[in-house]
């Protein structure tokens, strides 16, 4: 593995993506929402700080994931379509170095986006509370880990389906992954109630399929510590470490699958 190749490809990808208007659009839109929540008084009955934290973190998380999906959906397919990938692969660059370089380039951009928005949110909260909320950094790390998983799966699907289908599929996976196990258990329970309290073959199959999707697809609920940030609960550093390791394992699994598909692809 030539780390220099990966570094060069990631640097070029980073510069290429940062020139695109989409990054600035998401950055300024999210910053606008954070500043808007600071001045928004009509939702707060008492303390406005929980509103600022809740609103801001939700928008940062959602728009970072959408930005990741939008960038990764066209990352490799456009290069394949425009044949600009040939000069790169004709040099001594292996396909897995190319995929890793592209992936890290996008993740660097997302990390920059999260860093800027995190600093802005901490500043806004400091102006409001005169206290530094370091838990925002933990939340930002988990959002970055979440974006790593989303980005890796999007790159995998970009070798299989077209960009519009990829985006729709990823959106569905993201929504499904945000549901907690308890909520899915509640859905299954409601199905049983609607069937008159009897577990039929249909409800058993549906419960089995829901469980299967919940296991195979990533569980984005692990990355969500918004409740802790809003209500001031403690989140241990060990929990953040566990979830980051989970994200790294899932992303590496997905990228290895992507490499195996790309390796067998005739360009």
């Amino acid at each position: 593995m030539n780390l220099r190749n990966i570094y060069l490809i990631s640097a070029i990808t980073f510069k290429e993506m940062i020139r695109k208007g989409l990054f600035y659009l998401v950055l300024f839109f999210s910053a606008g929402i954070i500043l808007f929540s600071y001045y928004m008084n009509f939702f707060s009955m008492g303390s406005q700080t929980p509103i600022i934290k809740d609103f801001s973190l939700s928008s940062i998380s959602f728009f970072s994931v959408m930005l990741t999906m939008a960038l990764c959906v066209t990352l490799i397919p456009f290069e394949l379509e425009n044949k600009t990938i040939y000069p790169i692969l004709s040099k001594p660059v292996r396909r897995y170095e190319y995929i890793l370089g592209k992936f890290f380039g996008v993740m660097l951009l997302i990390a920059l986006n999260l860093f800027l928005l995190g600093v802005l949110l901490i500043t806004v909260l400091y102006l409001r509370e005169s206290a530094l909320n370091y838990i925002i950094f933990k939340a930002a790390i988990l959002i970055l880990a979440q974006c790593m998983v989303v980005g890796a799966i999007t790159i995998l699907f970009s070798f299989i389906v077209t960009p519009p289908v990829n985006f729709s599929l990823m959106f569905f996976i993201y929504l499904f992954g945000c549901l907690s196990n308890a909520y899915i258990g509640y859905i299954v329970g409601m199905m049983i109630i609607n069937a008159g309290g009897i577990t039929t073959f249909f409800t058993n199959v549906t419960a089995f399929l829901l469980q299967a999707f919940k296991i195979i697809l990533p569980t984005f609920a692990f990355f969500n510590i918004k409740e802790a940030v809003v209500h001031g609960y403690l989140v241990s550093g060990f929990y953040v470490f566990e979830v980051v390791v989970y994200a790294l394992l899932y992303a590496s699994f997905t990228l290895m699958l992507a490499y195996l598909i790309f390796e067998n692809k005739d360009l």
Binding site: S180, G185, G189, Q211, F222, Y233, Y246, L257, L260, N264
Partner: protein
Amino acid sequence: MLIKNKIIPLIIIFFICAHFSFAQTPLDNSSHRHEDHQGESGQLPGKHEHHDEDKGEHISGEHEKLELFHAEYYGMPWRSPQTQRDLWIIMGFLLFVNLGLLLIIRNKLKRKYGQGKR
């Protein structure tokens, strides 16, 4: 052929093992709650409290289960021991699958090294 012969069996094995490991997770609690509370399954946690008051000797165990369920239901996974357990099980399986894929990729690169394919 690679996907059919190697990757799909890996994924199927992962899924089957994970399915039996997750047989006791809260996802399966809907059927357990159906057996225990006779038709009250699927209701929101608050509605169980009236039922728990009638069975005094089971309050402490049920109360703990309810607290853990609340932690996960209301979006506080870092407080739920069930989440910790789920995380470690999933990470274990992912590690197993990743090692398998790494071996496949390593063998592939060994076979193709020096043939100029990029």
